[in-house]
Amino acid sequence: MIKGESYAGILNPPFDAKALAAGMRWIGDSKEVLPDYPNTVLATSLEWADKNRNTLIAYLRAWLKGMSWVKDPTNRETAIKTVGTELKLNPKEAQESVEELSKTGNLNLHGLQVVLDLRNQFGFKLTKGDKLPVYYDTQYFNAAKGK
């Protein structure tokens, strides 16, 4: 786009900010038509999860502890500083990283269904079929939370 070789693009943060800074024009945001389109998930292979159940649960337990700490308003300033140091981000980027983080880590099942429905609507043939339950498993997360 900057070279004028393409008319338009669909960009994720932080690349959209870079494009705007480079003089590109903002047309809109997908949230206007897809308000519950979920962002990143943690994923693994079913085989690895089965063979390393305890490791996966321990990993999620530590990760959730990190999430709770980051999202605790009393830790906000320290969290931004820690995240900035760990990820080598400036304070603004570190703050964005903290803000975009899920509050609970619970899978957004409605949002995941939206993503699947979109693929089904456009005729994608998914190897594992068109039903959501084969694409996620909450047992490890629940075990990590002590449920």
């Binding site: 900057i2 024009r25 206007e32 990143t40 994923a43 292979s45 690895w48 994608f124 997360f141």
Partner: protein, 185 residues
């Protein structure tokens, strides 16, 4: 009798060497079990961007407390990431759910989502400076429409047109992805 000394009364007590051998065996076994518990479990994490929870868990020592050593690597592309997960190069990945859908079973491995890292995703549609679409964005930027107002007035002609543009854009994106998959099965 194995090392025991029998007294006149027929009662057997172990000799010193036997006691020391048993104690050593016990200590070695205990040490080995303890060593296994202390052993770090390496987890190969592959990401587009490391999230704040992972950074905090690493910085505050939460992974270390669970005896987990996280090896986080950045990925250059979804293909490299999903292929690497399917082939066992990575244990856990942070990725878009669309990748889970597209790659589960594709190279043999079934892939599952286990937790939500970031809740809402938004794609920003941007145009180049001299493009035809740029005229639309220019018109829009002169009279910016807040998303909430935009949604409320969704039946307006303007919104219908914008919705049509979104649909076309998303359709084009999905079709191009499908073509790419067809070319690179």
């Amino acid at each position: 009798m194995c090392g025991g000394i029998e007294f006149a009364g027929g009662q057997m007590i172990p000799n010193h060497r036997f006691v020391i051998e048993i104690a050593l065996l016990f200590l070695l076994t205990a040490q080995s079990a303890s060593g296994q518990q202390r052993e770090l479990r390496k987890v190969h994490l592959n990401v587009f961007r490391v999230d704040a929870a992972t950074a905090a868990a690493r910085g505050n020592g939460y992974f270390a407390a669970e005896r987990i050593d996280v090896d986080a690597t950045p990925t250059p592309s979804s293909t490299a990431q999903m292929s690497g997960l399917s082939q066992g190069k990575f244990d856990i990945i942070s990725t878009g759910f669309d990748n889970v859908l597209a790659w589960s079973g594709k190279e043999g491995a079934d892939i599952i989502a286990v937790a939500q890292v970031r809740d809402k995703r938004s794609f920003r549609f941007l145009s180049g400076r001299r493009s035809k679409i740029g005229a639309i964005s220019k018109a829009r930027s002169l009279r910016p429409t807040p998303p909430t107002r935009l949604l409320r007035s969704c039946y307006d002609e303007f919104c219908s047109r914008m919705a049509w543009i979104w649909q076309k854009a998303i359709t084009s994106l999905l079709l191009s992805v499908r073509r790419a998959i067809a070319w690179n099965p």
